[in-house]
């Protein structure tokens, strides 16, 4: 559940912490992968089940979570496959994970009813019973004690639900399906959740919405730690949403120090890459809107971008910017300065893991991990962030770049650059957060309602601070991001000297237009 600490949150974080501890403490020459059998007993101790019908099932689910956290695929349950069969491959200092990033653990799914209406005991069997009057298929009748819905006849239109004055009709939906703005959740032959890979844009909101914790994403913690222990130059590129995520005493300067204590060689703000992206997208807007394309959509959110290309057919799909995202721009900068660098993007985002698998992104971004996963590394290595000395490194990002993490901040950041390039030009802006709202915006754009506009889309409600890999409540996180942004010496991207004189990412650099991993032809 987003924003509420539940036993599922705890289990997920325990798994990350165990994987990180294994990564840091194992004997590199003689590794015993059997660690994870033992660790499943540490996470689920005792003989009595706490969450499900049996302790064996609880541990089996934890072991499948371990596989995903180590970067492996979920095992089929109809034949034997060892828990650690793929560990030799995973034991690597290079990227190993593949699509799909978001996975259902089928036997953890409780096969919730899909879109069903039921009568609760709020029903007073009233005289008026408007429920029967509004039902278009006569599926509802008044029984001995209450209204009764004939599920065979019911067409799930919801009119009885709206008509009942006692709110006695309940709607059952699957939390995963309701969280999914891409309508990608279906069912397998046993009625369990199944993700339609053609529709899924890897936003990860189903992961944090499933009340049974049956959906999880792959992680690269283990390969990252292995690269660090191998003595490689591993850089942390930290997304603007990081501020406040590690608790109120973990100031940004202490977080930078703490990341170095994990073994990262240096820490770079992705807000700097955001400034590069703002400048580039401003250039695209000035050059192409409205002469060559009716509107421009932002590129920073990979789920929004993938979703927009699915919703908008053909030529209109090209109206979404294909400039390198802040993540990629940051990776490019780090690798310009140190070609041996390995870049780890640390963010709130599951979709960035998908973006990281795109062929034209791979050269710049080696790994992607979430704040929750890096918190597991801090816990495993016993790093107390509030005890760190402050690393007061110079600012790398403008106010606007640092503010990218909050919904409806990206388009104004770009608009500020457009005004600088073309003084006097008024930029019309529309924005949407959540894929459901993005879809509405895109359909209006397709119908020509947003000609001449700059469109900002974000898959997560609230923007990146509401991402599935975060630790803090959204409102608090947004305030912390805002406070840190205000400490930047520069207001807009084009005032940031760190990104001046550097090539604006674009032409010689990757365009990941429509190439989603696992779907190389684009949509």
């Amino acid at each position: 559940m987003r924003g509420i600490f539940t036993p599922i949150t705890k289990l997920r974080r325990d798994v990350f912490t165990e994987v990180a501890r294994f990564g840091y403490e194992r004997d590199l020459q003689h590794t015993d992968y059997g660690y994870f059998y033992e660790a499943s007993y540490r996470i689920i101790p005792g003989e009595r089940p706490t969450y499900r019908e049996s302790v064996f099932k609880e541990r089996a689910i934890i072991r499948e979570r371990f596989r995903l956290a180590l970067g492996m695929k979920i095992r089929d349950q109809d034949h034997y496959e060892s828990l650690t069969a793929d560990m030799q491959t995973m034991d690597s200092t290079a990227k190993q994970s593949e699509m799909p990033i978001v996975n259902v653990i089928p036997f953890a799914c409780e096969a919730c009813p899909t879109n069903t209406y039921r009568v609760s005991n709020n029903c007073r069997k009233c005289l008026a019973h408007p429920c029967t009057a509004v039902c278009p298929v006569k599926a509802i009748s008044i029984g001995e004690k209450a209204a009764v819905i004939d599920e065979a006849k019911c067409i799930r239109c919801g009119r009885c639900f709206e008509a009942c004055p006692y709110h006695a009709i309940l709607h059952f939906g699957r939390p995963c399906a309701e969280a999914c703005g891409a309508n990608a959740i279906g069912s397998d032959e046993l009625g369990r959740c199944k993700i339609d890979r053609e529709k899924c844009v890897s936003c990860g909101l189903c992961i944090v919405s499933c009340p049974f914790g049956a959906i999880a994403d792959k992680s690269e913690i283990f390969q990252i730690i292995t690269a660090i222990r191998n003595g490689e130059d591993v850089y942390a590129a930290i997304a603007p949403a990081f501020v406040g995520q590690f608790g109120p005493l973990a100031t940004p300067a202490k977080v930078f120090s703490a990341l170095k204590a994990l073994g990262f060689k240096d820490v770079i703000e992705v807000g700097m890459g955001a400034d590069l992206s703002s400048r580039h997208e401003a250039r695209l807007f000035v050059d192409n809107v409205p002469a060559k394309q009716p509107f421009l959509g932002t590129s920073c959110c990979p789920s929004w971008e993938a979703f927009a290309r699915k919703v908008l057919p053909g030529d209109t799909g090209r109206c979404i910017s294909s400039s390198s995202t802040p993540m990629v721009a940051t990776g490019q900068r780090i690798k310009q300065d140190n070609p041996k660098a390995k870049v780890v993007f640390i963010g709130p985002c599951v979709a960035k893991k998908m973006e990281g698998l795109e062929e034209d992104v791979k050269p710049y971004i080696d790994f992607v991990m979430t704040f929750e996963e890096v918190m597991g590394m801090f816990a495993a290595k016993h790093i107390e962030i509030s005890d760190m000395t402050e690393d007061n490194k110079a600012a790398e990002a403008s106010h606007d770049g640092r503010h990218y993490a909050v919904a409806s901040s990206v388009a104004p950041a770009i608009a500020a650059c457009i005004k600088e390039m073309e003084p006097g030009r008024e930029v019309q802006i529309a924005h949407a957060d959540s894929l459901a709202d993005c879809k509405k915006m895109l359909l209006l754009a397709k119908a020509g309602k947003y000609n001449g506009y700059l469109l900002e889309g974000m898959a997560c409600p609230g923007g990146c601070v509401g991402g599935p890999g975060t630790l803090m409540p959204i409102a608090k996180a947004g305030m912390a991001v805002d406070k840190f942004a205000k400490t930047s010496p520069w207001e807009h991207a084009d005032q940031n000297p760190v990104v001046q004189g550097k090539p604006i990412p674009g032409e010689p650099l990757p365009t990941h237009a429509g190439t989603q991993p696992g779907n190389p032809q684009g949509v």
């Binding site: 924003g3 509420i4 600490f5 705890k10 974080r13 590690f246 608790g247 801090f378 816990a379 803090m472």
Partner: protein, 88 residues
Amino acid sequence: MKKVIVEVCAGTRCTISGSMDIVANIEHLLSTYDEEGEPMYDIEVRNVPCQHDCEKDGSLAPIVIVNGEKIVCASSDQVMNRITELRD
């Protein structure tokens, strides 16, 4: 109604174990009012640095101190119950 001081550990282990979600829940109490419109609670919430108990045993997190009394493996409902008891 007595004032209750709640100190919530904001260290790494406690944060990963949901201590800030406990803070969010306690803060909700601050905006509960009785029928006369008077606030129902007088609480001061403080974020305190690592208490170092978790170094010996990580399962002790999160740690919350309510009027000087330490609660280990704290949960929101446990802490709110204690606040309600101390208030009356």
